[in-house]
Symmetry: C2
Subunit: 226 residues, 2 copies
Amino acid sequence: MSRVSVKRKVLRENDRIAEELRARFRARNVLTLNLISSPGAGKTSLLEQTLRRFPAGRKTAVLTGDIETDNDAKRLEPFGFPVKQITTGGSCHLDAQMVERGLSSLGAEDVDVLFIENIGNLVCPASFDLGEACKIVVLSVAEGDDKPLKYPATFVRSALVVINKTDLLPYVSFDMSRARDNAKRVHPGVDIIEVSCTTGQGIDEWLRWIEKRLAAARKTAPAPKD
Amino acid sequence: MSRVSVKRKVLRENDRIAEELRARFRARNVLTLNLISSPGAGKTSLLEQTLRRFPAGRKTAVLTGDIETDNDAKRLEPFGFPVKQITTGGSCHLDAQMVERGLSSLGAEDVDVLFIENIGNLVCPASFDLGEACKIVVLSVAEGDDKPLKYPATFVRSALVVINKTDLLPYVSFDMSRARDNAKRVHPGVDIIEVSCTTGQGIDEWLRWIEKRLAAARKTAPAPKD
């Protein structure tokens, strides 16, 4: 079997498990968000800000992926929500089977929002459906405004670009309007939110975006069975 | 054939071409440096600083990889050295065959130093030998001091860590001594150089590191044939 056909088979098998996961999430009204970014763009910091400020009564859980270490889970556990670290031991992306196993050991599927924090990699995670409602790409201003053009697959498949570390704008050569144009060029319908996880700027807009997605998902969800 | 055995076969074939490249580089006394980093850590900026300040008479060439766009080649061409963009069209890493083809169309193998700028990805490029004398990992302080522990494979295989964007240190929570400790923990023998491609700080040390490597490579090179 050739390299290409093995890759296709792997992706087909991944898609099958991802569709099962998607059906499970829909049946339980779980909004699943798959966060993708380069290493150190601020996915964990965004989750810290989110868990800190989540509205009372909002149920959430986190699956957080890394190649090595459980540092991210340790950072997120103090907020009191269920968190499960998935350590891939070398794999450059999360796949649907890892999410399925992570969910079993998390034991917390009856939540409103499930965050999946992918491996820090702006390339490979985009190819693996995890059954999420949408992918979200986090881009740090320190990375440069050209990244949507250089890594288009991730931006095309994401519903939202979170442009993080806006507090660094005075110190880096990042042109915000060019970054927004580049993101819209590769994905005209994409939403864009500017945040700083250091100052908290823009986090309210991000929380409102999640609430809107929750409301939209509930409108289209099947009526609960008696 | 299973996924694992196909991957092994691909890596074996890559290693075979890489060894041929390595022999070619050695025979011609070319020091080949494979630059690896996350997207936006500053590989191209480091090359800009390098080409701008290279000692007179030092012959060099650049192969620069990206998934899409030839932006990096456009940034490097003005320095007057041969530059060839390799656009992978989706692949998350350069492989030895891409380098072989890039070299053919570059048409400039009689150089002292060949820089290969890999795809912006801190994971996958580490697995693919390109026939280089050494891998160099560029880490931006904006990414965080924990990255050596989270992406150990790249740090273990690199001879040098260039810690870039030190001009941002006052504005980010990056502990330099912790970063250095983490790098040494995963790779005790690794060299570390701190630079800022914005202010130029540390670039002289980086240039001296290259000159030292050049001198060492020449000492061990086979005597030229009459």
